[in-house]
Symmetry: C2
Amino acid sequence: MEDDEWEPPKILLAVDLVILTLRETRLQVLLVKRGIEPYLGAYALPGGFLFDEHEDIEAAARRELSEEAGLADVHLEELGVYGEPGRDPRGRVVSVAYLAIAPSLPEPIAGTDAADACWMSVEDLLSGRVGLAFDHHRIIGDGIERARVKLEHTALATAFCGETFTISDLQQVYEAVWGVRLDPRNFYRKVKGARGFIIPVGSLQRPENGRPARLFKAGPVRVLHPPMARSTSVPPEAQVTREGGVRS
Amino acid sequence: MEDDEWEPPKILLAVDLVILTLRETRLQVLLVKRGIEPYLGAYALPGGFLFDEHEDIEAAARRELSEEAGLADVHLEELGVYGEPGRDPRGRVVSVAYLAIAPSLPEPIAGTDAADACWMSVEDLLSGRVGLAFDHHRIIGDGIERARVKLEHTALATAFCGETFTISDLQQVYEAVWGVRLDPRNFYRKVKGARGFIIPVGSLQRPENGRPARLFKAGPVRVLHPPMARSTSVPPEAQVTREGGVRS
DNA sequence: GGGCCTTCCTGTCGATCTGACAAAAAGCTA
DNA sequence: TAGCTTTTTGTCAGATCGACAGGAAGGCCC
């Protein structure tokens, strides 16, 4: 700590967003096709640099959330910092990654200024090599892992649903994020046993197929007790592979 | 995203360290007395700016860990980003906070270039108002909360212990971090039941008082199953207040 | 050595929680 | 009304948890 002439470096700060949602029972992440170098034409996470020296970091994340995905009032939490030297060929860029959870809404992607935004299945992304820009593949992996863990201990799953939802809707969230199939009877009992997790609203849901389901809304509790333990064993069908089918 | 003349801002990047350890059954955090403005003379977390534009952020954290606390090879994980405009009166500074866990070693603080480093009890810090520089009070709170949660689900507790330890040592970690008293019999059963958490080494420990205790070392498992549930109820003595005494 | 202290370790019991089922309830379609 | 679907309520055995009893293994003092 000499007082001489040393000056600490100033560095470019960016935000990147891992926006997860459920579409047709599949977990999907929002990607945008890059319109500038580097990685021109490659898919990347939505994000960008701080606007000016006075913009708050989370405010920048919400701004990008609105600009690039047309989303507001969704769950948003910090995921981590990605700042290895060399991760951006333009020079030193430190990126703060955020995890956002969006409910499956009627209109898929509205108000995106870059029309090159699209939802991509997390399954395809993690297994089949889809080349992404920068270290965004790793960021997405970390984001999904975060979501998986938080589904166990917190009420995060309700962020995937709309204002009201059925217990089956909630089960689809758990199945998609964890990539497993769950027993509906036990899931039902467990969810209702977690105090403060969900609150019944009076009404029922349009039964497209079977018995009408009761509707619930998110409860006040953030930490689940007892937790939704991710069990080691799964029903005969085992892991979910693709398609909701599983017609044995 | 105009291509005009706009240039993203460059910002000062710092690291701050929440270094936790156990000293005489109490959870303590390392603080240093500031030698420069702002907050001259106030206690603050160890930390500092990146050395140059090419230093990795975690490397900077390890450098500070070594320089200011004389520690190496301790558990270190990212805690979060603290970057609100205005948190540093000098201008915009974004700080990446890290959580470090140090075992209770023989020599308390060695090799600190700032001799103004000292351990402070977390209890005193969180309850009695001890003014800290910047937003470091909040960072410490977040660090302790992180430690509390991770003690439940991961093998983080072993990071507070040395190479080998007894189950009682481990229990002291849980009691100090959670601020509760635990039943030794149930704790023993639970720890031994968590598969891969601890591995017995053959020997016993010098019994200063009672029956010699078996020694263990940390196991390979990072995620505990079953977890060490933080129960709602506690033995009659209730919360730990101060002092190991509890002589009724 | 014999009490008596301490702490460590093993075990027991009832309450709670979990996973694997059965079966009833409540809609739709034919 | 029969048959199909999905939701909801149970049942039952096994795992786990908190509260506690009691034996094991040292040291200390007489």
